[in-house]
């Protein structure tokens, strides 16, 4: 499943997502392209009741996760019960509808 | 008045169980008493609604004009099965909501007018006029439309209403239904109120619906008018 392209610094090994032209730790400019791998741990989350324009689904849960290989990302959490540190697995689904098109992003389900 | 002719012109009245008054604690800590009023309150209510006809902002003029007509029509026995709830703080009128029973199973929500801004009076009273038919009048669904974008966003989406085909009798946008099911699912989140109302507060509210002067009413709705400097 193709999701996002994350980056590992070829010099110091720091894993980054989203990308930067220079490593956040050592300023090196060469990176290995990697993909988020493994289960995702929920670092924090919120339940959105007041909706932004363009989204009509109340109670959308958004969280930040850390994948097993160090990639951190935000995504929609689809779970009945949510807790800090919860183990989730990533899917790649439409998360928003912009200008007539589905936009894909991370959706996390209980592992 | 020719009573025979009058009897023909008056709609039949469906008996309605009364709405038990309740007390809501607002963000300021103030208590709002929400209670049902009968026709005798209408002349006072009309005095409060009248100034809104001059306020185009947020569609106060449209809502005010229609509410005025509905209350007057109800007062003169020309609207079928209308009911009206008011919110009072320290006896002063804070807001009015009205609806009417359409059938034994359906109620049509008419209008919501808030005279105090920033305290969610409209939201509280709207919830009360859903609570009344669905919990006390054996109604199965309330049909709702909205005239202002704030109303639409707040109610259609906050409650998760079901869209329906057809025209709301107000002739505006398509309408939505709040079913008993959806109402009960959302009740804890959207409906506040403590019963019974402390007797002294209820007495104060029932004794008199206090109304402010027209320019004060306009000022409260439109906000502070003069510059500070």
């Amino acid at each position: 499943m193709k999701t996002v392209t994350a980056f590992r610094c070829k010099k110091c090994g720091l894993v980054m997502y989203p990308g930067h032209l220079r490593c956040l730790k050592c300023n090196n400019r060469e990176f290995e392209k990697i993909e988020p791998e493994g289960a995702a741990k929920l670092l924090t989350y919120t339940v959105i009741e007041q909706l932004p324009w363009g989204i009509d689904e109340r109670g959308r849960i958004i969280g930040v996760v850390e994948f097993e290989n160090g990639v951190k990302a935000m995504g929609v959490v689809q779970a009945e019960e949510v807790s800090m540190g919860q183990k989730l697995q990533a899917a790649w689904e439409p998360v928003r509808y912009i200008a007539g098109e589905d936009v894909y992003g991370f959706t996390f389900y209980p592992a | 008045m020719d009573m025979e002719l009058e009897a023909m012109l008056r709609p039949p009245e469906t008996p309605m169980a009364p709405y038990p008054p309740k007390m809501i604690t607002l963000a300021t800590g103030a208590k709002m008493i929400v209670r049902q009023v009968d026709r005798s309150a209408v002349p006072t209510l009309l005095k409060a609604v009248r100034p809104t006809l001059d306020i185009p902002r947020d569609y106060y003029d449209v809502v005010g004009a229609r509410l005025y007509a509905e209350l007057l029509g109800w007062y003169r026995h020309r609207v079928r099965d209308e009911f009206c709830l008011v919110g009072q703080v320290d006896g002063y009128l804070a807001g009015i909501v009205n609806s009417r029973l359409f059938s034994t199973k359906t109620c049509i929500s008419l209008h919501t007018l808030s005279l105090e801004r920033g305290l969610r009076i409209g939201a509280h009273l709207f919830a009360a006029k859903m609570e009344y038919p669905l919990e006390y009048l054996d109604i199965e669904e309330v049909l709702i439309t909205a005239e202002s974008p704030i109303g639409f966003r707040r109610w259609m989406i906050e409650y998760g209403l079901e869209p329906r085909d057809g025209q709301h009798e107000l002739g505006g946008a398509d309408y939505f239904a709040l079913t008993k099911d959806i109402y009960l699912k959302n009740k804890d989140r959207l409906v506040a109120g403590e019963r019974p109302v402390p007797p002294d507060l209820l007495e104060e509210a029932e004794k008199e619906i206090k109304i402010r002067a027209a320019d004060k009413i306009r000022e409260k709705i439109e906000g502070v008018k003069e510059e500070t400097q």
């Binding site: 339940v47 959105i48 932004p52 324009w53 935000m74 992003g105 | 300021t28």
Partner: protein, 393 residues
């Protein structure tokens, strides 16, 4: 660097201002600042306008150019400065640098925003455009959602509670009623928004655990400060206040890439820089205007700026230290919560409040004998922060 003084200030009521255009609001306060300084016929060399999104809210760009025309300040140099909700702070920083470098003698800084020309959810969306498009925005994240995620971490780490957050709101609403320019003129009660068993209906969740009364309102408004050189300050019949320190720092764009998500690094670094330049320490500050777009931020910033130890901001609040009569009054103006938050105006409005406090002109909300004031303007979600230290001389 040369000394820089705030010689004049201007302010308009924050709130819903349907009756006036963005440029007119800014022109009004700009003229107030010029008159307050007694500038008379002296020319203004440069104009900086802090404004985040006039193009999106008001369908108008190049507002600095429009302002110069409206006030007949030509041929002054003029730029619009954008740094999200810290646009005002950045505009002041730019004005400060122009005078401190010796390039300009008189710089007018105006912050302004007219957010209520679009409806609520649209305004929320415009503000959400600050987030990372691919990694954050697409998920429907809003600034309240960012605050929600940050607050949850802060609560877990430092034991901050919803009651603490509500206490910030109650304090700032109270202060707002003492400020005739504040958007919200209404005291709220802790019981009404938090203690009452049904307070979750009156004070509903926006982005859990952030509730309605934890969020600042959406406002229109403008504020202005006239910055001058020492020579000019001596010439003018004004009560100048020294801009003693300015600091700015940035952090990662996305929340997930912060080294430690509860660590507001940019707040810390920007504040240290401002204190450094001013030659004083946090304990020397008598009054502070912090950026409480969300109540959690007042608590977190009070720690990261150096006023209280990490994790002890809530304690200071509970002990009353941050009330107007306390040892470190925070947001005597009502803060963003009650004064309002027209995003581009806020950083300048904070400076205006400090000038009034330091001059002894803050009326019922006066902090006694205030000599050193501090303000913090929080851009993005803490990834671009500007701090100021002002001093009565």
């Amino acid at each position: 660097m040369k000394a820089v003084y705030a010689a004049g200030v201007g302010m308009t009521r924050f709130g819903r201002r349907d009756e006036v255009s963005l440029v007119d609001m800014m022109a009004d306060v700009g003229l107030q600042a010029i008159d307050d300084a007694g500038l008379g016929e002296q020319p203004v060399d440069m104009v900086y306008v802090g404004n985040m999104a006039s193009g999106l809210f008001n369908h108008q760009v190049s507002v600095a150019s429009a302002l110069v025309d409206r006030l007949n300040l030509m041929p002054a140099a003029a730029d619009r400065v954008e740094n999200g909700p810290a646009s005002g702070g950045s505009a002041i920083k730019n004005g400060f640098l122009a005078v401190a470098s010796g390039y300009a003698d008189v710089v007018l800084v105006v912050g302004g925003e007219k957010m209520r020309e679009v409806i609520g959810p649209k305004a929320t969306d415009v503000v959400a455009c600050m987030t990372h498009m691919e990694a954050e925005y697409v998920y429907g994240v809003t600034l309240p959602a960012m605050a929600g995620m940050f607050t949850r971490l802060y609560m877990e780490k430092y034991g901050v509670t919803r009651e603490h957050l509500s206490m910030v709101a109650v304090k700032n609403h109270k202060n707002g009623t003492l400020n005739p320019y504040a958007h919200i003129q209404m005291e709220i009660s802790l019981f009404g928004i938090y203690g009452h068993p049904q307070s979750h209906v009156t004070n509903p969740v926006v982005a859990d655990p952030i509730h309605l009364y934890d969020c600042c309102p959406v406002s229109d408004g403008a504020a202005a400060v006239l910055l001058v050189s020492e020579e000019m300050a001596k010439k003018l019949d004004a009560k100048p206040v020294l801009v003693a320190g300015v600091g700015q720092a940035t952090d990662t764009h996305t929340l997930q890439e912060r080294a430690e998500p509860t660590d507001l690094k940019a707040v810390r670094i920007a504040s240290e820089k401002a204190f450094d330049l001013a030659g004083i320490k946090p304990k020397d500050i008598d009054v502070a205007e912090l950026h409480d777009a969300f109540t959690i931020l007042e608590i977190a910033e009070s720690e990261h700026a150096g006023f209280f130890k990490k994790g002890e901001g809530a304690k200071a609040l509970v002990e009353g230290k941050t009330q107007i009569g306390g040892s470190l009054p925070i947001n005597p103006s009502g803060g963003l919560k009650a004064r309002g938050h027209p995003v581009g105006a806020t950083g300048v409005a904070q400076a205006v409040e400090l000038v009034w406090q330091l001059r002894g002109e803050a009326g019922d909300r006066q902090v006694k004998k205030a000599k050193n004031g501090f303000s913090l303007n929080f851009g993005g979600f803490g990834n671009n922060v500007v701090s100021l230290v002002l001093r009565r001389v």
